[in-house]
């Protein structure tokens, strides 16, 4: 079974490379339909193979569990959108497809129960970074030549065959490692390996206020009056930590130096962006791309 897996991975990679190099923009229409077909075939083959039971020994395929379905839906959306990002001839639409990649991978983060990172990535990528890209795309648009939709450098890719071959060779090698059963069979979600919430709370959050917080409100005479604190939600378990709390504790307790360095890097890039933006450049006149 495992040698078939290896062979199937390489066949699927070759198919994917073929499909992608056919789908790359070449400045003329024609091959249009074949590329997506081969791509869907490759994707379907890969999915079927992943679903195949018996590969993981004692594990069942578990198609009924919701996490399994969510994984395939979000991965399919992410990979399809990624293909559209690199094959679309209009930069604005490529950026919008990239938003889909971000949203789908955030869905995968939720499947992996990393809620904090999912929402942080939506806000930072889907919000901040993509808006910046949109602004730059709008700032840096040229008038298009007559009779064509879009610039020549958007319509003709550079070395699509070589790029696809190199990329999918890398992918095949990566996957043959990632699917090596001997390497990953020991990696299981073992709750015993997790640092327990109780120990973390005991060592770091001993005086964490839970319910007994005084709440003050202002009455009509302008005096602060103590009112009853709102009831904590019924499902709040004071002995458990939420995902964001665990990530925050890990960030500030285990990586304080990295946090400082990240701040310095952000400051440097802020200053660098200002310096770059203010620089006067000579206008060398429009260059016509071939």
């Amino acid at each position: 079974m495992e040698q078939y897996l290896e062979a199937a991975l390489y066949i699927v990679s070759v198919l994917g490379a073929l499909a992608l190099s056919l789908m790359m923009p070449r400045g003329r229409s024609g091959v249009g339909k074949i590329g997506p077909l081969i791509g869907v075939a490759a994707l379907g083959g890969l999915w079927l193979f992943l679903c195949s039971s018996g590969l993981w020994g004692d594990r069942e395929t578990g198609l009924s569990t919701p996490a399994f379905i969510y994984y395939y839906v979000f991965s399919g959306i992410a990979i399809f959108s990624a293909v559209r990002v690199i094959t679309h001839t209009k930069p604005v639409y490529a950026a919008l497809w990239f938003v889909m990649v971000v949203l789908a991978s955030c869905g995968l983060f939720l499947v992996l129960s990393a809620q904090f990172m999912a929402f942080a990535v939506v806000i930072i990528y889907g919000g901040a970074i993509l808006v910046t890209y949109m602004f730059v795309i709008m700032l840096a648009t040229q008038s298009t030549p007559d009779g064509h939709s879009g610039q020549i450098y958007d319509r003709v890719a550079k070395d699509p065959v070589m790029a696809s071959a190199a990329g999918f060779l890398l992918l095949a090698v990566l996957l043959s490692v990632a699917f090596d059963y001997d390497q990953i069979k020991d990696i299981r979600m073992d709750a015993a390996k997790r640092q327990s919430d109780a120990a973390l709370i005991e060592s770091t959050l001993g005086n964490r206020p839970l319910a007994e917080q005084a709440v003050y409100k202002m009455n009509e005479a302008g005096e602060a009056v103590k009112v009853d604190a709102p009831e904590p939600p019924a499902n709040l378990d004071p002995t458990r930590l939420a995902n964001a709390e665990r990530v925050g504790l890990d960030l500030f307790m285990s990586h304080p130096l990295g946090l400082e360095l990240a701040g310095v890097i952000l400051l440097i890039s802020l200053i660098g962006a200002i310096v770059i933006a203010k620089k006067k450049v000579p206008d060398e006149g429009a260059v016509i791309s071939r």
Partner: protein, 108 residues
């Protein structure tokens, strides 16, 4: 989510998605000629890495993977700011986003 619910999904599934996103970003970076799309493809490679990191975090029961994604986001934001500034600078000079126009910087 109880731990057993995700048990049939292995680490390899998520590594597959991450690797595919990374390689598609790499192919786009090599073969597209528009400078903005090239940098968009580097962001896509970051996404692939982030998926792998969070999958490792989940399957090893260790929150450090998610912390690393925070650092990846930091670098991605810094890179986007600087790269887009450079792209605008290059566009002001030659009025084109074509990467091949700048090929005279090559050593041949």
């Amino acid at each position: 989510m109880p731990l057993t619910e995700i048990d049939s999904l292995t680490l390899s599934h998520f590594l597959l998605t991450g690797a595919v996103l990374f390689c598609l970003g790499l192919i786009g970076f090599i073969s597209r000629r528009n400078l903005i799309i090239m940098f968009l493809c580097t962001e896509m490679m970051f996404q692939g890495v982030a998926i792998s990191l969070i999958a490792f975090s989940r399957f090893h029961m260790n929150d450090t993977g998610q912390t690393f994604v925070i650092f990846v986001l930091t670098i991605a934001a810094a890179e986007a700011a600087l790269a887009l500034g450079l792209v605008v600078l290059l566009f002001r000079r030659k009025h084109t986003l074509d990467a091949l126009v700048w090929s005279k910087l090559k050593d041949v």
